[in-house]
């Protein structure tokens, strides 16, 4: 019986690339489904009845579902090129692919990194308000946050936050820091076009932490108190791989600024990246059958 590790994402994603290369160097069978190049070509058949079984094949590789021992799931749900995605058919194909892969991952008994709950399907990047709604028992502290269509309310919030705050769009991952009264005035014209999503700036040491399985990898040293908070939060969201952006204050309070359920390794330092990849490989192999 063959055994495969399935990687679903994009071939040019460093995480997919590095994990595939490491697994292959260890003699593992890797099947990489590069989601924007699957149709036509993917051979997929899944029967759902009282039992669920099926096969999956691409080019020369073919696997029964029970031969898949682990999955690294890093797909976006877009199964076509950006140009095709602008068309009705491209969007339809992507909806169908997304629907298929969510159900497929749910049926597999092997480790899946990550098998996202439906609440996270369209929200892989969580800001404090998301975290507070999804993790009611959240032990991290979070910066005060306001969403408003009123510039006057934004000004009052600026004062409440001690004259500094951060503006972030609700649907993009960018941040704009505001430290002066002149700068905050720029929110006035913006408020005519967009809701203002503002958060207080917390002073302290910024840290990046990656949870991989039961390990926490910080970009800078080890931090026992922060580690347990990361593990608890990841566990409550059933995540075995995620990235936290944190602030540790001088009083040793831990603030969580964001949580990414599909961490990118683009901006990682090489040492952190290598540790993350090694842990991912270890996590994926932990579910492997002993060869018989």
């Amino acid at each position: 019986m063959m055994s495969y590790t399935l990687i679903i994402g994009r071939g040019d994603d460093p995480c997919c690339e590095l994990v595939s290369a490491r697994l292959r160097s260890l003699g593992q069978n890797v099947m990489l489904l590069s989601e924007h190049q699957l149709f036509p070509g993917l051979q997929f058949a899944w029967q759902l009845n009282e039992e669920s079984y099926g096969t999956l094949g691409l080019e020369s590789q073919n696997a029964r579902f029970d031969e898949i021992d682990a999955v690294l799931a890093r797909f976006s749900g877009i199964a076509c090129s950006p140009e095709e995605f602008e068309t009705k058919n491209g969007r339809y194909l992507s909806s169908e692919w997304h629907a298929l892969i969510r159900g497929f991952l749910e049926t597999l008994p092997c480790p899946v990194v990550n098998r996202l709950g439906s609440a996270l399907w369209y929200k892989p990047f969580l800001r404090p308000a998301d975290l507070m709604s999804l993790v009611p028992e959240l032990k991290f502290q979070t910066p005060r946050t306001m969403v408003t269509t009123s510039f006057e309310d934004a000004l009052a919030f600026f004062d409440l936050c001690g004259g500094q705050l951060c503006y972030s769009p609700l649907t993009f991952r960018s941040n704009y820091f505001i430290y002066t009264k002149d700068a905050v005035q720029r929110l006035n014209p913006l408020s005519n076009f967009l809701p203002l999503h503002l958060s207080e700036i917390v002073c302290g040491e910024p840290l990046d932490a990656y949870v991989v399985g039961n390990r926490v990898i910080f970009n800078n040293g080890s931090h026992i108190s922060g580690e347990s908070l990361c593990l608890e939060t990841a566990a409550s969201l059933k995540l075995s791989f995620c990235h936290f952006r944190l602030i540790r204050t001088v009083e040793d309070a831990w603030y969580c600024l964001s949580l990414d359920c599909t961490p990118s390794l683009f901006q990682c330092e090489m040492k952190t990246r290598d540790a993350v990849v090694a842990s991912l490989v270890e996590t994926l192999l932990s579910g492997k059958r002993v060869a018989s």
């Binding site: 149709f39 899944w46 029967q47 169908e96 159900g103 998301d130 967009l194």
Partner: protein, 308 residues
Amino acid sequence: MILVCGVLADGMIELMCARLNHMGYPYLFLDELRFPGEFNLTWSISAKGVDGYISAPSGRFNLADITGVYARYVQYRGGTKREGISDREDELVKSEYQASLMQLLDILPCVVVNRVRASVSNDSKPYQQLMVSTFGFHTPRTLITTMPEEARAFYEDCGKKIIYKSLSGVRSIVRRFEDIDLSRLERVRNCPTQFQEVVEGVDIRVHTVGDEVIATELTSDASDYRYAGSTGHALKARAIELPEEVASACTRLANSAGLTVSGIDLRRTIDDRYFCFEINPSPGFLFFERASGQPISEAVARLLRGDR
């Protein structure tokens, strides 16, 4: 105070506003076509919880006074595009405003019909099929494939009685597969397709409203009862009581999905087995209320006021 969010052109919003008026329950209708503008919003969240207000032409309403929210997540329709921005920018602006509202509804502590985060499982029918089967419902024999030969074999195995439909909520129309369709099967290579064995029986729509279960039996000679009127077929709808274990499975399923109100599609076979096809997070109960006279919107209104 009850908050209703949506657009008045949506029949469900119109029904709920009319029902709340009729029952004398105070409510605020946040017209998404006039947000921002005539309606504005400020909310903040801290360790103490959510705080804020909605300003409307009729006044300013504290979020703390809201006992329940009825929301329909519709695309903005008919809104005017701002000058000087591209179509893509316009789409992004609208997404930002919609997100400002949806995120609020996700964190409000009151009853919300329904929170966005509870509504997405319906976007994957196979995911839902796996979910409903854990509550003891039967589910139809199903094949999802990109391989024409597998689809052909399934068609034969099922005695040529199968349907096909989308896997997601997009273009979700059920169609019977016939011999004439065999020549088109090659197309499944381009897009995964779902085939299901036909299950003969009586259609039942169950609405769960909190812990309340309202079941409607539907009989029609149309292939899909939802289109009976428009295709000139008769439709009979009547209130029924479900066996206790089936009713309980419905509420457990809805609770597990985080849906305070749901529409569950069942079919009862001649040997009294209950098949479940779907759990709808934004059910259009107007159709069923009209057809059967069951007071579904009243039950929803009571839930929103916090009566139960």
